[in-house]
Amino acid sequence: MTSTNKLLLEAKGITKYFGTITALENVNLKVHEGECLGVVGDNGAGKSTLMKVLSGLYKPSAGALFFEGKEHVLDSPKDSQNLGLEMVYQDLALAGNLPIGENIFLGREPTKNIGFLKFLDFKKIQEMTSAHLEKLKINVKSAEQKVEELSGGQRQAVAIARSTAFNAKVVIMDEPTAALAIKEVGKVLDLINKLKSTGVGVIVISHRMDDIFTVCDRVMALFQGTNFAESQLDKTSRDEVIGWIMGKK
């Protein structure tokens, strides 16, 4: 189903050295519109390094990134954000002391001018937040609520909402359910499915087979910094994927 959709992000031959250590070697990756790609691998397999290359935090030693068919060189996370490529970090990257709305728009706050001075437009933040949360069917008491008052699942939802507030085309999630209570995992996975249905391409890095087999359409395994195996989800099984993580085919 997904192969007919538009190709959004493609990484070709990504190689990354840290001094004498080879973290990634000739890694390829593709994500299509409305598709969820699961990336699995043991600790140190290169998952995080690959994601940091995709988000512009690291520059690859070799290889190229193509976004919607065009090659791009990313110098910083700002560059990837401008392309519509957003990252949801494992540690959530939210400021607990600020309200939901201000977290979602942190760094990109709408302002209004009074004379030559720029002031925050709280009304606009509020409106845009409510509309966006509504769109993703995220329930919170109000956009004014501070993030530290939310549960882990709600925070993850806010983090995901934040990543998609500016028309993201590809969202990369690093262990989106790792810090959550079991009853909240389902809600976050639902949210990922909702994102897919709006045409966003999603990359999920996860250790949890449940996550991978609930939301992903395709799964790829990294082993010691290389592409080890890849398959459509309906053509593989949990045991096989677990085998890939351990380097067995």
Binding site: Q81, M87, A93, L117
Partner: protein, 349 residues
């Protein structure tokens, strides 16, 4: 039948709990925002009852504002730094150095507008040095950088002045710290004037309130205190914001120097000694958190006022300054303990 009664009883209890809950939820934000003002009002009432003739007299109230004028500038600067989860121990020394530079420039016969601008610029530069040191030299904690500059700036101030007081400034230079706004046109007596420093406090605090709450940079200052890695991931240049914060803190200390010059008509080596601790105390009493991201400009103002009124009131009652130290220390501990209790209270809802 019995079970129905039980159910009804249970419902009644649920209702009661709900009511209590909503009351908590309604009260907490107000308590959080205005609790410290309540303490301030209580203190004013107590002082008024203890000293009914003097405490609320025009003369004494303006006196309190004159006394807190320069401390309030240091406290506001330190507050911004504390919001970023940092600390600035050097504000007293920055003020002293700025004051000494002002005195030397004034003695050299520079025109008054230069003399007035010099401490502001000097304070800003000192703050900039702090900010650059913390970010570029990657000091493990701002405590260390500003502890270093606490000595460096005061030492420099003593070096350039030879460690002796330099006195005698013109009226223009002394205006902010010593000026009076005549109110006789309102039908008030000549002695019922408005100190310029009071107006200055109001203006500066208002400007910084707007800056911290209604500008993007201000919001980012709070965000950095809340979670620096979140701020960084949001594309905020954390180092740049920190440099701005420490520079502004130095600038405010420079304003403090200008006020002090007006009040004392002299640059003297002991100026602002230990005042960094007063500034930190005012922030803590006012509800700022050492872990960053928390606190309000209004709270800092209340903190400064509480310390000022306590000192003034105890002086009026002829209580020894040793007792003042004990009391101020106790209030710091008490204020933070109340904050701890409030937090428990808040999470139990």
């Amino acid at each position: 039948m019995k079970s129905l009664v039980g159910l009804w009883e249970k419902n009644k209890m649920d209702d009661k709990e709900k009511k209590q809950d909503s009351l908590y939820v309604k009260l907490i934000p107000y308590f959080e925002k205005y609790g410290i003002l309540l303490l301030l009002v209580i203190m004013i009432l107590v002082m008024h009852i203890l000293q009914p003739d003097v405490f609320l007299s025009w003369r004494n109230v303006t006196n309190v504002f004159k006394q807190i004028s320069w401390q309030s500038m240091l406290a506001l600067g330190v507050f911004m730094v504390i919001v970023t989860a940092g600390i600035d121990l050097s504000v007293g020394s920055i003020m002293m150095l700025s004051l000494m530079i002002l005195a030397i420039v004034a003695k050299a016969g520079a025109p008054w507008f230069i003399v007035v601008l010099v401490p502001l610029f000097a304070g800003f530069l000192c703050g900039l040095i702090n900010g650059l040191g913390i970010t570029l030299l990657r000091m493990p904690h701002p405590f260390i950088m500003t502890l270093g500059t606490l000595y460096i700036f005061r030492g420099t101030g003593n070096l350039i002045s030879g460690g002796t007081p330099i006195s005698g400034f013109t009226d223009e230079v002394r205006y902010l710290g010593h000026g009076r706004i005549d109110l006789t046109w309102l039908g008030l007596e000549k002695s019922q004037y408005l100190p310029v420093s009071l107006v200055l406090i109001a203006v500066v605090y208002f400007v910084f309130w707007v800056f911290l709450n209604h500008s993007r940079t201000g919001k980012w200052i709070y965000a950095i205190g809340g979670n620096p890695s979140a701020a960084r991931a949001s594309g905020i240049n954390v180092n740049k914001i920190l440099i701005i914060v420490y520079s502004l803190c130095g600038f405010l200390s420079g304003i403090g120097a200008l006020i002090l010059a007006g009040r004392t008509d002299s640059g003297y080596p002991n100026a602002g000694l230990q005042s960094e601790l007063d500034a930190i105390a005012a922030c803590i009493i006012g509800g700022a958190s050492f872990f960053g991201g928390r606190g309000t400009v209004l709270g800092v103002f209340a903190g400064v006022m509480i310390m000022g009124i306590l000192r003034n009131g105890l002086n009026l009652m002829d209580v020894s300054s040793f007792w003042q130290q004990v009391l101020i220390g106790s209030i710091i501990v008490l204020a933070v303990y109340v904050d701890v209790l409030r937090r428990d209270f808040g999470t139990r809802k």
